[in-house]
Symmetry: C2
Subunit: 558 residues, 2 copies
């Protein structure tokens, strides 16, 4: 069946705007004709997020697509790094399979660094022997962010084999090299790595562009590099893309790449440079089979009200119509019932890797071995921590949370193999009662929890174990734990619920954590980085307290 | 009026081939529709010659367009360097004005180096004060080949002002830097120069591409770099273009950029890389307002029989149809009458700069000042000469041509200001009788002639003076000169005749020169370089014998 849509056509590929009628048939654009009489709306190529971990939205690909397409996103380049740490190649395959339920362009890259480090326990490793067959899969578009840049520079054979497998298949290799400059950067580029999304300064970005790399301007829930890097848009038509890296469900509800395009245009950066970064450049670099509003192309494009407000009226993907954000609906309480039913019915049918057994109160006891204790010092939304030495608060021979000084007990518990929970202490979260916990803890996604009392901590940990993954807060009412939680039955990372439902739950849980005294705007995001050993200074993994400046495990007591 | 053309559409911009119908109205493509039933022919973007001196074809732009479009060329980037040396900015303006008689895309660049050197006399200089207003002219697309690379490297103020004027107007600056490598090349690029068409080795070309320059693969009447540079097509989709630099009328009759595309495809270089070099890349780099077979584009495209033979059936430029080379006609004698009439009627109406007065036999006399004489040694088609010292042949106190040893008398005569003709001797041309002469002599286009006898030389020089420019051969029959000549009344460089007529005359004159004993396949091209002082080793300019190794004038006698 033919369908005609008219409007001002924004032809980014050819950098011109003209009035015309687009005719769609069989998922493709079968004709484009100039016309003097068109609807007062703009048709333009859809936006691409050139690097995002879908798992950060806690959504299945099929649900991510519904939410992202509302903002004019028609495709993403995505690294299933999180689920791969839990489930290995099977996790990658699950994501690909689920993504096929929607025409949205999911371009998966093979995770290059699973596990990321030997300092924590993850579910599976992905070696070069597994990367090689993955690269033959037409659903794999490249090798995802090569974080192991020391391995690249030292010529680590396993690292080079992974890169070679991708290049040999004609697929690009993404970089991840914060701060790398000069001769080392040249060596990294010479290894065949062609992008970086980790630039935080214009100098870093300019060096990369000069060496022929593409730079991804990243603005997501965790990283905010738009202000630093957007000046590149002034002169660089073909080396830039936009990405979010991580986008939490509540923020994905508000907007996506459309926000960056709108900001860049409001700052008067050259129109076509901005539009290319959001559309043509990623399509070309990653060979995304995404239409660009040309005759014969797949019918992938968006309809917006005007080029200033960029309100998305409709998003066409492969000819299928998705509603735009102008029709956005408010979140209502009635989601609650839906959610419970959905979680109930399906918890056991999802792929997961959750072996941890319930713990006991004695597992959380800490013997005071000295009067001086190392404490992790966290700050809102930051991957970095500081370290302080404090005097432990001891009750009945057990070091407990010191609420007066905001020194809270924290636990990280291996969810893959039998082990004792690791216990340490952290400042910054500000809890005055209760506890919070998550099975989203980069990069290995073990169970991480912080509590105002051992009892609340125990309760929240065992609650998440019973759910086999999720986010939870625990309030003690009359000595009994009351939970507010979101179940993440897919690998302990992803909910089967819709984007609105997940965003709603996510907001609710955060609201409870504020009520318990937590000062952070993004408590679960911050919590999720407290077990990430490679980022300074002091972290707690399932294997113990890790000093990333000395790059070695350390003791709780000085 | 609407017009529909169907075929297999080769969409180089989007790198796909599909069957469709193109609808043209008001010089534009108003619709492209997919179709299952199309003519068995291919529609593709037309070819661009990214650097050519139109003057080398000896044709007016309007006539060049007819011949070039026959081979699928729809546009050229052109440097009116030759006519600018004769007429200054007026010459540039004349070419632009004439080019407007055809929809063919003539993208003129402002000549950057007029005069090229102080070692010969030309008609006019073009200073930065004249470049600046030219750059405001929308018919000027950039600054033409910056040959003065020593000036760029030393930071010559006048050179930098010209470059700055072009960059400031948002227009590219073309390079010309044979052999420049390493740090000097980096400095040249840093000055804002973005192309080079003078590479003859793959190493030169690769260094330029790595520094972000575009490399023009040149194959024309004088330079033949295709074999050396075509391997770049293997991996380089966006940094290459094709150009001819110089294309003589007889060779332009046979083919143009279509020949290079065909050769490259026969060598199995990647299809889209080859097509991009011939179409999209120059259009983008020079911002040529040339359609690329996209909806709304100007109707600029070609119709070819298939992608192997590339026989051009039709060339559309701005919706106007030009016949293709499949309808090529043979050259006939009857052109003679046309030509004579056309030359007769219009000789005085063309712009020219020809002040030279007839010379006398005594002006050609050379006193034998020693027994050792420096002689220029030429070889067919080469800009380079060697030098030999020989014993002069003296008759009646005058050094004359020594036919036995192929040492011929040569004269270069300033055509702009009163001066004495300069006389020297040259080996290689092999004339056994008669003389040949030309007013195409790079870069200043003074009158240059070579003769077997002083009488023939005198006759041919004065004949060209009577024509106010052209090419001529002179045969002595019964002691009287008989001429075969082509009048070039436009600046002494260009004929008002059609491409076929000029090619026919050019071939005829060459045929006579062969009969007179000349061994060279391209006698007039070789002759045209014998006054070019900057190319080693020994040359004769209107100011005297020039030793380009010592970079100074020298004496005829040792």
């Amino acid at each position: 069946m033919k369908k005609e849509i008219s409007g001002h056509i924004v032809d980014v590929r050819n950098q011109k705007i003209y009035d015309g009628v687009v005719t769609i048939e069989n998922h493709h654009i079968v004709s484009i004709s100039l016309s003097d009489k068109v609807e007062e709306q703009y048709l333009m190529p859809g936006f691409i997020d050139a690097h995002v971990h879908i798992e950060s939205s806690m959504l299945l690909p099929e649900n991510f697509a519904i939410l992202a397409s509302r903002h004019g996103t028609v495709g993403v380049v995505t690294d299933p790094h999180e689920i791969a740490n839990v489930l290995g190649v099977k996790g990658v395959e699950f994501m690909i399979e689920n993504s096929k339920k929607t025409p949205f362009h999911f371009c998966f890259c093979a995770p290059s660094c699973v596990p990321a480090t030997p300092f924590e326990t993850n579910g599976f490793a992905i070696s070069s022997a597994e990367i090689e067959p993955l690269m033959k899969n037409p659903d794999i578009y490249g090798l995802a962010e090569m974080m192991n840049f020391p391995g690249v520079l030292s010529g680590d054979a396993e690292v080079l084999r992974k890169i070679e497998a991708s290049l040999h298949a004609g697929k690009p290799v993404d970089g991840h090299a914060p701060g790398l400059l000069g001769a080392d950067l040249e060596k990294y580029v010479a290894a065949g790595i062609s992008t970086d999304h980790e630039c935080t300064t214009i100098e870093e970005a300019q060096q990369r562009v000069q060496l022929g790399m593409k730079v991804l301007i990243r603005e997501g829930s965790a990283a905010h590099d738009f202000d630093a890097l957007s000046p590149l848009l002034q002169d660089c038509p073909d080396k830039l893309m936009f990405c979010s890296d991580d986008k939490h469900p509540d923020e994905l509800l508000d907007g996506h790449i459309n926000q960056l395009v709108k900001r860049a245009l409001a700052l008067d950066y050259p129109f076509w440079n901005v539009l290319r970064a959001a559309t043509v450049n990623p399509v070309e670099h990653y060979h995304i089979p995404c239409g660009l509003l040309q005759p014969g192309d797949a019918a992938d494009f968006i309809v917006v009200d005007n080029l200033r407000d960029l309100n998305v009226l409709q998003t066409y993907i492969s000819g299928e119509v998705f509603e735009g954000n102008v029709n956005n609906v408010a979140l209502h309480e009635y989601y609650e019932g839906h959610i419970a039913a959905k979680e109930q019915e399906s918890t056991n049918s999802w792929p997961n890797n959750f072996q941890a057994q319930p713990i006991e109160l004695k597992d959380l006891r800490v013997e005071p071995l000295s009067r001086q204790m190392r404490v992790i010092v966290s700050s809102d939304g930051s991957l970095l921590t500081d370290v302080e030495v404090v005097e432990p608060l001891v009750k009945e021979g057990n070091v407990v949370s010191d609420l007066e000084h905001d020194v809270l007990k924290m636990v990280v518990y291996n969810r893959y193999t039998p082990a004792k929970p690791q216990v340490a202490f952290i400042k910054g979260f500000g809890l005055k009662e209760g506890a919070l916990a998550s099975t989203i803890a980069h990069d290995s996604h073990n169970l991480i929890a912080i509590g105002a009392t051992d009892e609340a901590l125990l309760a929240v940990v065992n609650h998440l174990i019973s759910l086999k993954g999720g986010l939870a807060v625990c309030e003690m009412q009359d000595g009994k734990p009351v939970f507010k939680s979101m179940s993440l039955p897919v690998a302990g990372l992803i909910s089967p619920c819709s984007g609105e439902e997940v965003a709603y739950q996510f907001d609710k849980i955060a609201a409870v954590s504020f009520r318990l005294g937590c000062q952070f705007i993004a408590p679960f995001m911050t919590l999720g980085f407290m077990a990430l050993p490679v980022i300074p200074k002091l972290k707690l993994t399932d294997k113990g307290l890790f000093d990333s400046e000395k790059f070695a495990f350390t003791e709780l007591f000085v």
